[in-house]
Amino acid sequence: MRDLICIVCPRGCHLTVENGKVTGNFCKRGIQYGLQEATNPVRMVTSTVAIHDGLIARLPVVTSQSIPKSMMFEVIREIQTIEVVAPITIGTIIIENVLNTGTNIIATRTVERRSS
């Protein structure tokens, strides 16, 4: 049996997961989260990537879907090895299929080129 706090939305329901059953959830997503978290926890990861010649110095990125929680730091490390050059449009795939997770790393902001 596991007691968890659901992180799917800001409500933060207190879940109990026992024998494959979830209680304490306000909505369906809570069931999905509870089961996932108890068996194979996953997380979305956000970070920034160095961007050159842009109006700002860091391009914010996000994983296109959740990745195994155990791989969080590995994925972050992988993201840190990348450097891009402005301009970058929001939605651009910065890394495809990062570390074979089936997840892409996507730019979450458009960064224009800095006029020198």
Partner: protein, 415 residues
């Protein structure tokens, strides 16, 4: 002097939503004045996700949420000035602003919406004793330096304050390879969302010291050490509970305060609890034609509500310009037992439709009822399993249920 129908001070979430809505309501000449280099406000540095669940039924990162609104603004012929500081506004709605391109400009506004966001409480405002070295920084400023400018602010960090900003930064710092030695929270409970406790502290085994705060700061040049101690229910330090942490940066996440220097300069009274102007249900301040919305009106937890409030202000401003805004007798809305504040603080008696009140409780409650009453007449009752000061709540009621124009109270009733 140039005339503009609607001047919006602040191009963040509240201001952008107001601009879009006002334009769509038919206001042609709109000017948005923004102090940063970009539109989007604070969300641009909130690179984490969790935004937009209500508005877009999606979980977006801060920049993505901001992008949606910026795009919509750019689709419309709304005038925008960046790196522009509003210096003052006058009671007859003249707006003084300054930037490098134009210099010092005065425009005559038909209506003004103040959407100037909020500022972070500082070390000096909460009187943390000790030395005053470099390395003490508010969490939001640290977030900007790290997420936008690409610097570190420290390698061994302690965080004071377990509100969402402090928690988010704890995780962010860990992802940046920075050691986070702990988070101290003055209250006996965390102010942040449960999900953030999980994702930001528990996931990383960062210790949370509830009912603790900082007793001393040591370091002449850069911060070297802090002493953290437990406090009792009167917030006095309990001897013998001191813990020392050797750090090179202290992040302060000790509260957000609506930022209204322009209104203060104008002489508008600010509500002692919200720290924003008093407003009616149309979000109009005590000066006709001057409206407020977003974090500068009262600090929000969810940007979705900021956007809704911005839209409301946009609608109200456009009504004002079309002289359709409600006037007349107003009924006071008051914060009763257990309630920290209510917003709006007054509502027109002839207002149609349900009145939605935002409120916060003064301390956590479990299994209580929140009610709206006028005298002994209860016009609305809701059961609430959980209530936290850190989570803004809403309750609505209908004016038609009221019998008099006496003040209306929102209060907590223990079950």
């Amino acid at each position: 002097m140039k005339h503009v129908d609607l001047v919006i001070i602040g191009g963040g979430s509240a201001g952008l939503a107001a601009a879009i809505k006002a334009y769509d309501e038919g206001i042609q000449s709109i000017l948005v004045l923004e102090k940063e280099k970009y539109l989007g406000g604070i969300l641009l540095q909130c690179i984490h996700n969790g935004f937009g669940l209500t508005t877009f039924q999606e979980e977006l990162t801060g920049p993505e949420y901001a992008h949606r609104y910026v795009e919509e603004v750019l689709k419309r012929p709304i005038d925008i000035k960046l790196e522009t500081m509003v210096m003052e506004i006058t009671p007859d709605k003249q707006v003084h602003y300054s930037n490098e391109l134009e210099g010092y400009i005065i425009v005559q506004a038909g209506a003004i919406i103040c959407a100037t966001g909020c500022s972070e409480r500082t070390r000096g405002a909460i009187n943390i004793p000790g030395h005053r070295p470099a390395g003490i920084i508010t969490a939001g400023l640290a977030q900007k330096y790290i997420n936008i400018d690409g610097f570190h602010v420290g390698k061994r960090v302690f965080i004071l304050g377990s509100g969402d900003i402090g928690l988010i930064m704890a995780r962010r710092l860990r992802f940046e390879g920075v050691e986070v030695l702990g988070v101290a929270e003055l209250m006996p409970y965390s102010n942040g969302l449960n999900r953030n406790l999980v994702q930001c502290l528990y996931d990383f085994n960062i210790p949370l010291f509830l009912h603790h705060t900082i007793k001393d700061i040591i370091g002449q040049t850069r911060i070297e050490k802090i002493v953290v101690g437990e406090v009792d229910d009167d917030f006095q330090f309990i001897p013998g509970t001191e813990k020392e942490f050797e750090i090179d940066a202290l992040l302060l996440s000790v509260g957000l305060i609506p930022s209204n220097p322009i209104l203060e300069k104008l002489g508008i009274a600010l509500h002692p609890r919200t720290k924003g102007p008093w407003v009616d249900e149309q979000l109009q301040t005590e000066i006709p034609g001057i409206f407020a919305c977003g974090n500068s009106l009262h600090v929000h937890d969810l940007v979705d509500f900021v956007s809704l409030e911005g839209e409301k202000a946009g609608v109200s401003a456009s009504k004002y310009l079309k002289t359709e805004l409600l006037t007349g007798t107003m009924i006071s809305l008051k914060a009763g037992y257990g309630i920290g504040y209510v917003l709006p603080q007054r509502v027109h008696q002839n207002s149609l439709g349900p009145i939605q009140i935002s409120y916060r409780v003064i301390k956590p409650y479990q299994n209580v009822t929140v009610l709206v009453r006028q005298g002994n007449c209860v016009v609305k009752k809701i059961r609430k399993p959980f209530l936290f000061p850190a989570e803004m709540e809403q309750i609505s009621f209908s004016l038609s249920q009221l019998e008099t124009d006496e003040e209306v109270w929102v209060e907590v009733q223990d079950a």
